[in-house]
Amino acid sequence: MSWYLLRRLGGMLVTVLVVSFVAYLALTFAPGDAAEALIGENASTEQVAALRSQMHLDAPLPERYAGYMVAAITKGDLGHSLVNGRNVTDLVAERILPTLLLALVAMGIATVAGLGLGVLAASRPGSHLDLLAMGGTAMGLAVPPYWVALLLVMLFSLRLHWLPVFGYGSMSHLILPAISLALPGAAMVARLVRSSVIEVKRADFVRTAAAKGLNPRQLMLRHILPNSLIPALTMMGLNLSHLIGGAFVIETIFAWPGLGRLTVQAIFDRDLPVVMGAVLAVVPLCLSVNLIVDLLHGALDPRVRHEAI
């Protein structure tokens, strides 16, 4: 167990390094740099060059990357924003909470709605209810979240005046962005749960349990559901990375002060330390969730425990 964990943690570290290096390279080789982006349209070459050296953008690439990573890992120092000079650790810390809040609430909605709909659809496969649910989930997968977001705003904010159009600070601000973000995840979970419930229902042990006289409710809760949850769990773990990615778009639409919006703006500004700070916060987070999911997987399914751990 500990050996497995150690190996996974080692793998995570390598992944973080590779991803951060790729991000660093991508931003470095993107045309234009922070000095130009910051100083804008009317600056002279001398002005840009002076600013560039002031920002230490003129040092060789490996030196800059190594310097950055060493400071980040040993001292936890993520540097300062090239645009407004603020400490990146503060900036990321300030913005990651709203994003996590949004992603976790969306994940909760996706899980509950997905499970419910999946079990419901699987209870009578082929029925009208099942067809409707599956049609709905197909739409949920096909329709982009930002479009759903706009429709939700039109209905609940502009027509019914129940919820605010945008903003941050209260529960009512959270509802629309979380629902729009949750929709594809909910649809995915629902489809997965439905198919695995149907599959498990046909298994020998379920037939045996039913023959022993277990009522359908107990059968579902004790035998079918736990066994069908395994693939859904993996899906939910993977989902979190999607949610954080999706949050980048949703945050812009709802003016949500999260990490996604910060990162997108930082990319336009070529604000390397801020982009790196965001990468170094999000990547380990997603990897940790994947690890936790794998460990939970082992807890739910003893077979996996024996094989891999």
Partner: protein, 530 residues
């Protein structure tokens, strides 16, 4: 379980149907008595007028800081913190008397020492500012007495007035800057109608009323403190969300640049749309250093192929005015008649010019010279509505047999590509409040910098220099008229249109005005119930 399913199904049907319904939304009461809320697309990076160069910056600063002079909508400069001034006969010394009784937010008085301090600090920390060069041109700023400041120049500089009217040149309180130390970027203290209340990063900026204010610019009627208690800027990056927020009453004012929004808001009875003219030009530029666009005839030919009225109508829905000259109507030196020196829409002339330049038209309609087909890459940014305009241009050039490929990059990538000369045609714009703009964007000394089209004409360069040194406004205008005639004939740019914005406010907002640079003037604003 079944009940929940029913509700869920019903809800999804309702959502799907929202787009179709057409009920009148009920009016919502605004967000409190004396608070005017405006949406902003981007957040300022800092509240120090001298620290940074971002465009979001001057959105908030003009309400906190006052400048020595104000540029009015008609382009005239009037005193603001300056009461009066005198220009020496050689144009090298300006002696300015300050208005009396003006106090900073921290209670300290506005005096000559504060003005000197502001200019000295700018020279020390203002390297990133777009007006850095112009401020450095001032050789000396000194306090003659408590209310008199003397500016000395090595050479006369006519763009001085536009420089000191910019928000970047707001007069700072020396005592507040010293007290703030390294935190000056977060603690702005000026003499403006509002003080900084709260800055929730990534969310909003709240300004609160300065009750002592009594030195309003001449453009407004209310010469005392503003009636509003608060002015709030809410950060909403998405243009569509800004519209929804306005319609829901979450914000009172938005500025729109998207033609499609203009038409949909024009029908909304709850809002008022005010067109805003900017000191800007959108142009089609040619890479004058790269064959075949280094050939004046080729540039002129392509310019003749451009139908500007089609662009303004189809791609802009009239959110812009057809341009005939490199300078927009709001700047000195503008003269509508000069457009006759440029290339009006004339396809047959375009083709004749190409033939004249040595091109032969093949059976497929394309043009060839020395075995090379006339084609090019039209570079522009992803900023709206550039894509629509580029597409119209592409079809207009195609119509005379010149196929171009559109390349869209983000703004910094476009700037990088143009300084390296990696383009053929460029759809771009400039925003500047002084005719020296032409010097910045078209003079030989700025090639590979802000002269993105590699245009070079020594006669024009000399006129730019003359215009910068001419302090008599009338004579100065004539110099720029001369320069524009030559530029139009050389055709490094085909001026396309003068862009406009729409200032959209809810009906409860009364007395909102537009100032120079498209600035929202709130001094006369009162709010009614809804």
């Amino acid at each position: 379980m079944r009940a929940i399913a029913r509700v869920a199904i019903l809800l999804s049907i309702v959502i799907a149907l929202v787009g179709c319904g057409q009920t009148q939304p009920t009016p919502v009461s605004g967000s409190g008595g004396g608070t005017l809320t405006r949406a902003m697309t981007a957040e300022p990076t800092a509240m120090d007028p001298q620290g940074a160069a971002n465009s979001g910056l001057n959105l908030v600063l003009p309400y906190i800081f006052d400048t020595l002079v104000t540029r009015q909508r008609d382009g005239q400069y009037t005193g603001h913190l300056a009461d009066s001034w005198q220009l020496s006969p050689d144009g090298k010394i300006i002696t300015m008397t300050l208005r009396g009784g003006v106090k900073f937010h921290d209670g300290s008085p506005l005096n000559a020492a504060a003005v000197v301090f502001t200019f000295e600090r700018f020279k020390a920390v203002g390297d990133k500012s777009p007006i850095a060069g112009n401020v450095k041109d001032i050789a000396k700023v000194e306090a003659v007495d408590d209310r008199t400041v003397r500016f000395t120049f090595a050479q006369p500089n006519a763009s001085f007035w536009s420089t000191i009217s910019m928000p970047y040149m707001g007069i700072l309180s020396p005592s507040a800057v010293k007290a703030a130390g390294d935190d000056a970027a977060n603690k702005p203290v000026g003499t403006g109608p509002f003080k900084l209340g709260e800055w929730k990063r990534g969310v909003s900026i709240t300004l609160v009323r300065n009750p002592d204010y009594s030195w309003d610019p001449t453009e407004v009627e209310n010469r005392g403190a503003v009636k509003l208690e608060q002015l709030v800027f809410k950060l909403i990056p998405d243009a569509g969300t800004q519209m929804s927020a306005l319609q829901a009453g979450d914000v009172d004012v938005i500025f729109i640049t998207e033609p499609s929004q203009m038409s949909s808001l024009a029908q909304d009875k709850n809002v008022h749309v005010e067109p805003v003219n900017l000191d800007s030009l959108v142009y089609l530029g040619y890479n004058c250093a790269k064959a075949p666009f280094n050939d004046t005839k080729v540039r002129q030919a392509l310019s003749y192929a451009v139908n500007k009225s089609e662009i303004v109508k189809t791609a802009l829905s009239d959110l812009g005015i057809e341009a005939g000259t490199p300078l927009p109507p709001s700047l000195p030196g503008y003269n509508k008649a000069l457009s006759s020196f440029g290339q009006g829409y004339d396809q047959s002339k375009a083709k004749a010019m190409l033939a004249d330049a040595g091109f032969a038209q093949g059976s497929d309609g394309s043009w060839q010279r020395d075995g090379k087909k006339l084609t090019g890459r039209l570079l522009t940014s992803t900023r709206s509505p550039n894509e629509a305009i580029a597409t119209v241009l592409q079809s207009q050039l195609k119509a005379i047999g010149v196929p171009v490929e559109i390349q869209q990059l983000d703004s910094s990538a476009v700037m990088k590509a143009t300084t390296e000369g990696a383009f053929d045609l460029l759809l771009w714009r400039y925003d500047w409040n002084d005719p020296d703009a032409l010097n910045i964007y078209l003079s030989t000394s700025r090639i590979r910098q802000t002269n993105r089209v590699f245009y070079s004409n020594p006669t024009v360069d000399a006129l730019f220099e003359k215009g910068l040194r001419e302090v008599d406004p009338t004579k100065r205008g004539q110099v720029y008229e001369e320069a524009q005639k030559l530029i139009l004939a050389d055709a490094p740019w085909q001026p396309l249109y003068y862009p406009m914005e729409g200032m959209v406010s809810r009906n409860r907002v009364q007395g909102l005005k537009v100032g120079s640079l498209g600035r929202m003037l709130v001094n006369d604003v009162t709010l009614s119930g809804n």
